[in-house]
Symmetry: C2
């Protein structure tokens, strides 16, 4: 870090952003006379002070980053945002210790939505607002990362999505800035419409703002222990479904709306596949629920649609305890945990386009077995699928599976049973939120875990959110060799 | 089938082999005056009759197979052997119904070693012998398949192991026959030495013969309900470890011993990696057992070494209930289920060479991220690793994971809980044997499962044993298009 002044400068800018956002809960805390008002004031001072120092002392840094520095900046800035985001939790009376504060912050920033806080309904509104804002920031961060940085870094086959507009070479710098600004406007606009829709559906303004921020970021934090089930409202569930889906679509697809070129709205086979996949799972679950006499068709559809979109999009809202639907439903939701939405959205998981590429490879393998000497060309959405991209996607899938495996083994070593270890590893790496079993299930809470388990899960959430390689590469000797 | 006379002819030859082997338990049953003597006689008549009819009526078939026909023959012959192997179970009084008979037979032929039979110690010796022989035949079948057929079919990256001696083109037919004969001799020799070693270690001759057959095939059936724990003998466990390892090595490596060219014994990095991986897991488990005060170093080493080799090699013998070692050990053994031994051995699982290739790809991906424009060349054991092979291995890994996933979901739908569904799916697809949990754990038995679950597991065992694609390809429309 000592040797990278421009990274420190940019880190200062990012931290300044956190400080500015922190003004909102800080003002709210003082307005309400909350017990946490001094905690927020001190947090604000620390964050803003650090940000301004970093900016001031590195203001003359060279205005350039190479590939290694982009990796470093990405990793360091996410960890930094998690750290500064945790300060209000540490200083306030909300959480019992440092571990819980960091866990809550990492879970928020990575838009996972697993919580160690209980009795949310009784918490000060400023803390609830801060949790939601952290998810909202995390969602915005991942949209920017997915649209601009990850394709540039060629992570996990995302080079496929390298748009012309995301070319970060020196010449196109103003172009890139406008591109990111447009993404920010889209994110703000969707958030705004989500607030309006939730409040029209019956939420009070505070709940509407909080849930809008955790919906568009597919984070899933709620202001109530019972999550969306608190409202027991078909209208609110419908709004949630619609905006979770909107948030799972590549945000670049919305660009033509901003620029007014409505005719330029592209079709994206990712979106179609995602909707098709979710719909198929919904139908299977509805048939299961109806055949096993657990619900009428209309109830089954309501609950299945909500939870398939919630888990599939990696949001993690809960409107009813779906783990009582039987072993079949549990297995389906477990595997749904891995799916995720589209690349370039706020959702996590393995993501639809990687399954599409896997399926293309699968078909090609079968055909190659029958026709060993034939030459095959592959493409996805009209773009050629190179061996490079395929290898990159395979490596990502392997890294994802290994991460879940290693995390599950470590959680086992920390004393958790099979279903807790496995589902917590999966739900954390995929940034979903709820797991399965008595401890981390949808009606339970991560607070029952011991401290080592919480730290392990923090690492898994960060790895998952940054598509694994972005962090993993920082641990290789090759990275630090000049 | 009607249209493939040469396949029917070869199927007759294979069935004749089963009929000849069936003579052994048949003679034993009459010798002992067993209640199953008529069952074996009728089974023998059915099997031999079918075999001879198939051979006689197709004796004039053209002596040639194309790629499609090799796939078809492979799939059909494995199913046929499972079917004829089940007849003695169906006709005897050993199993309660048709489902159990087929399950036991498929579990034997695929060398999985999951059993639905209870009170093995009280069963007639002829039935016990038949179970063991079926595993032995399954092991021999997979060695032949792995050495000759699968590399020819380019399944799952196995083309890497296409030896010159396994070239099945028309001209080299006598050459190929000698190659297969040598493999048979090696298999017989190892089996013989295993019988001798077990009896020197204290087994009676019947137990020694049975366990030798289920050790060299890494099948894991025992003549006792308590498996190897019955003997409670360090010597017997040591013999088992040695021969399970011998059976997990590519059998082609033993060829120079037969031909007398001892200097030609090649090093194979697969073997080194396998031993290294197993040793690492043993050390981790020993440390865990000692640190958690569950065993002394020497006891810990004895139990850890036995079960790591037993699960790693996909044999599935049990000498003590390792699931009580704590959640960490359960997670470790769960993931060990997937590992397997070397390609070209009798072991199942994903197999070491695929992990090696995955690791090579992983390292290359990391390096490519840092040096986007560099050109990399990859090799394994001095052979170039082509994009083709890598794609093939990736497709296999994906197919394996998908199979485990789909089977686990179906087992969930059949009413099994999370750990039973998941571990049964894994242990069946990897052809290991014991799973985890109350139902399919190492001290339990697959007889507690309901009939649909047993059928699902049968399909998983066959898919796993035939490297998935060999069977899957028969289900594609492209296969049946002329």
């Amino acid at each position: 870090m000592i040797a990278f002044p421009f990274i420190r400068f940019l880190l200062g800018i990012i931290t300044l952003g956190v400080a500015i956002l922190m003004l909102a809960p800080c003002v709210l805390a003082w307005e309400l006379g909350s017990q946490d008002r001094f905690a927020f004031l001190v947090s604000e001072a620390i964050t803003a002070g650090t940000a301004l120092s970093l900016i001031y002392f590195n203001r003359s840094a060279t205005n350039k980053l190479n590939v290694r520095e982009v990796f470093l900046l990405t990793g360091v800035s996410w960890v930094a945002v998690c750290f500064f985001g945790a300060i209000p939790f540490i200083l306030s009376h909300t959480v019992v210790d440092f571990t819980d504060a960091v866990f809550e912050s990492v879970s928020a920033v990575t838009t996972t939505g697993a919580t160690v806080l209980t009795q949310l309904d009784d918490l000060p509104k400023d803390i609830l607002l801060w949790r939601s804002m952290m998810q909202w920031v995390g969602g915005l961060g991942i949209v920017a990362l997915g649209a601009a940085v990850l394709p540039f870094l060629r992570i996990g086959g995302m080079r496929l999505f390298r748009a012309e507009s995301s070319d970060f070479s020196e010449k196109s710098s103003p172009h890139a800035r406008r591109f990111l600004l447009h993404l920010l406007l889209i994110y703000l606009a969707i958030s705004f419409f989500c607030v309006v829709s939730y409040s029209l559906a019956g939420m009070n303004m505070f709940d509407a703002i909080n849930h809008a921020m955790t919906t568009v970021s597919t984070g899933g934090f709620s202001t109530h222990d019972s999550s969306i089930a608190f409202f027991n409202s078909r209208e609110i569930e419908t709004v949630a479904i619609i905006f979770m889906l909107i948030a799972s679509v590549p945000f670049v697809l919305y660009l033509p709306i901003i620029t007014g070129h409505f005719t330029k709205i592209r079709r994206d086979s990712q979106v179609e596949s995602m909707l098709g996949a979710y719909l198929a799972v919904v139908i299977v679950l509805v048939v299961w629920l109806v055949l096993t006499d657990q619900a009428s068709v209309s109830e089954a559809f309501r609950d299945a649609a909500f939870h398939v979109v919630s888990i599939g999009s990696t949001t993690g809202y809960v409107s009813t305890d779906y783990t009582v639907w039987g072993h079949f439903a549990v297995m389906v939701f477990f595997f749904l945990t891995f799916v995720g939405g589209c690349s370039g959205s706020t959702s996590g998981g393995i993501k639809i386009f990687r399954f599409k590429i896997a399926f293309i490879m699968f078909k090609e393998t079968i055909r190659r077995l029958l026709h060993p000497n034939a030459v095959f060309s592959r493409s996805i959405d009209g773009r050629t699928l190179t061996d490079d991209t395929v290898a990159s996607v395979s490596a990502f899938a392997l890294a994802f599976a290994s991460t879940v495996g290693v995390v599950a083994i470590l959680l086992g070593a920390a004393g958790n049973d099979f279903i807790t270890s496995f589902s917590a590893a999966a739900t954390a790496t995929a940034n979903v939120g709820p797991g399965f079993g008595d401890v981390v299930g949808p009606v339970s809470n991560f607070s029952l875990l011991n401290d080592p388990s919480k730290w392990i899960i923090c690492v898994a959430m960060l790895l998952g959110r940054l598509e694994i390689f972005t962090l993993l590469i920082l641990l290789t000797p090759d990275f630090w060799r000049v």
